[in-house]
């Protein structure tokens, strides 16, 4: 190699890791969710109104916004978790690969297999590490070697090396960060298409948070990831697309509901947002 010859580096990969995908790259990817005019109300009171956006395959999409802006309500619409909340009503449409997610023919249990969810607080079952991951495949009667499936899921969740010698130990003995990765492994074991994460790292220390964020970068090669986060820098680090939600209060102060303010490439949201409300929020001038 001569002195002036540049080393061979896959610059597109570096660019993707360091800046995320740009909007046109994201929009070229298949639509996983197509949301139109979505609203959610609880006992007749609107919590979220008029949300329209698309989520694309093999991307990380982040929802950010102040408390009460409806971002957690919104993410729960993607696997019909709001069905389980008494008094909740969803209007508008959510298409999942072009099919109406809220059609009567849709099996909500099957939807929740395809669209897994990880919550803020790690919630492993009080069972062994192995049984936590094996639970879903067993219940669903999935074919093939259960042991292989468990190992594969734990490897993908970057937990295998830490637990392979103690699979029969109780899951509750793991650290918080390990428990959260176990919950991710549990979601992966049933071969989902999408992983929803509602504040997945907010209860974790910075090192565990970094591992979860690294994992998101890895997992988006095979899955579509949607994340709600309070941590704006986390959205900036992991997401390709970011949606900013805000709260509007009725003039008479009687009600408040969430709205989608801006949805764009994460790089755009954190460098030159189009809407002043987004700029005020990401720069900390509001909320």
């Amino acid at each position: 190699m001569t002195q002036m010859e540049a080393p061979r580096i896959d610059s597109s990969r570096i660019a993707e890791v360091s800046r995320g995908l740009d909007r046109s790259e994201v929009e070229r990817r298949e639509k996983v969710f197509t949301v139109s005019g979505l609203g959610v109300s609880y006992h007749g009171k609107p919590a979220l109104e008029g949300v329209t956006l698309d989520v694309h395959k093999n991307t990380v999409t982040a929802f950010i916004g102040p408390s009460g802006c409806g971002k957690s309500t919104f993410i729960r619409c993607f696997n019909r978790m709001n069905d389980l909340i008494p008094g909740a009503k969803v209007s508008g449409t959510v298409l999942y690969h072009g099919e109406d997610l809220y059609s009567r023919d849709v099996d909500a249990v099957e939807i929740r297999r395809l669209i897994g969810m990880v919550f803020q607080k790690p919630n492993p079952f009080p069972k062994s590490i192995y049984d936590n991951v094996a639970f879903g495949p067993r219940v669903l009667g999935m074919q093939g070697s259960l042991e292989d499936r468990v190992e594969q899921a734990l490897r993908r969740a970057a937990l295998w090396d830490e637990v392979k010698d103690r699979l029969k130990d109780g899951a509750l003995g793991l650290s918080g960060g390990q428990q959260q990765r176990l919950c991710i492994a549990r979601a992966l074991a049933v071969e989902p298409d999408v992983i929803l994460m509602d504040e997945p790292a907010s209860a974790l220390d910075p090192i565990s948070t970094t591992r979860i964020e690294d994992l998101m970068h890895e997992l988006k090669r095979d899955y579509t990831i949607v994340i709600v986060t309070h941590n704006m820098q986390q959205a900036a680090r992991v997401a390709d697309m970011t949606a900013f939600f805000s709260v509007v209060v009725d003039e008479d102060g009687s009600g408040r509901r969430g709205i989608l303010v801006e949805y764009d490439a994460t790089t755009k949201i954190f460098t030159t947002p189009s809407d002043k409300r987004t700029e005020d929020y990401v720069t900390g001038r509001f909320g």
């Binding site: 460098t271 030159t272 700029e279 720069t283």
Partner: protein, 220 residues
């Protein structure tokens, strides 16, 4: 919201403006030194550059801390980046003034030629004006004023070429040629100060629009 952060940003910007005002005084100093061939004033300008350097290094350090502690984004990030770049441009203008002062000292034992001195003084005054315009445009986030710097820079470039042409005429006079060659370098220093003022204008445009674009293509 983020009161302390806003105060830090305000302090950064004030530090940059102060460095800019100091460099304008340096430019005024070298203009007077050229006009009067005052060697002592040249030494003062050279020593005075520490003031510019100190402010630039303080600005750079503060920016490092703000980036580390406050992780600015969007308009705040653009402001911090624009200040970092613009601060460096100001520091370089100060260095150009030092070079002009040294060259003026070096040629002080030689006879001056009035036409060239007048040309250089004219360039210097235009440069001082450009720096002031660049600082005001930055402070007011005024893109139109910033773009106007390009037109002012054309005049400096033209004066630079005139000085060069004038010195070419000294080719048969060894002493005049020695003096003239040094003045070509002085003219070149002023020309660079003008370019740096345009650079600050470009940073202003970036700060406002979020897109960086050079006002002129250097290949033309």
């Amino acid at each position: 919201m983020r009161v302390e952060f806003q105060q830090e940003l305000d302090a950064l910007e004030a530090g940059f403006q102060e460095a800019g005002e100091i460099v304008v005084r340096s430019i005024r100093g070298v203009i007077d030194a050229l006009r009067t061939q005052d060697v002592e004033l040249c030494d003062e300008v050279i020593a005075f550059d520490d003031e510019v350097d100190d402010r630039y290094h303080a600005l750079e350090k503060q920016i490092e801390l703000v980036l580390a502690r406050q992780t600015p984004v969007a308009g705040d990030l653009r402001l911090v980046l624009a200040l970092l770049h613009s601060g460096l441009h100001v520091e370089r203008m100060g260095d150009q003034c030092v070079t002009i002062a040294k060259l003026t000292k070096l040629s002080s034992h030689l006879d001056t030629r009035q036409t060239v001195v007048e040309g250089l003084v004219d360039m210097g005054e235009r440069c001082a004006e450009m720096v002031k315009v660049s600082l005001t445009a930055f402070a007011n986030r005024d893109i139109d004023q910033a773009r106007g710097l390009h037109g002012l820079d054309d005049l400096v470039d033209r004066a630079n070429r005139q000085v060069f042409k004038e010195v070419l005429g000294y080719v048969n006079d060894a002493e005049a040629l020695e003096w003239g060659m040094r003045q070509i370098t002085v003219a070149r220093c002023f020309e660079r100060i003008g370019d740096n003022a345009v650079d600050i204008g470009e940073q202003t445009a970036f700060l406002v629009t979020g897109e960086f674009a050079e006002f002129t293509d250097a290949s033309h």
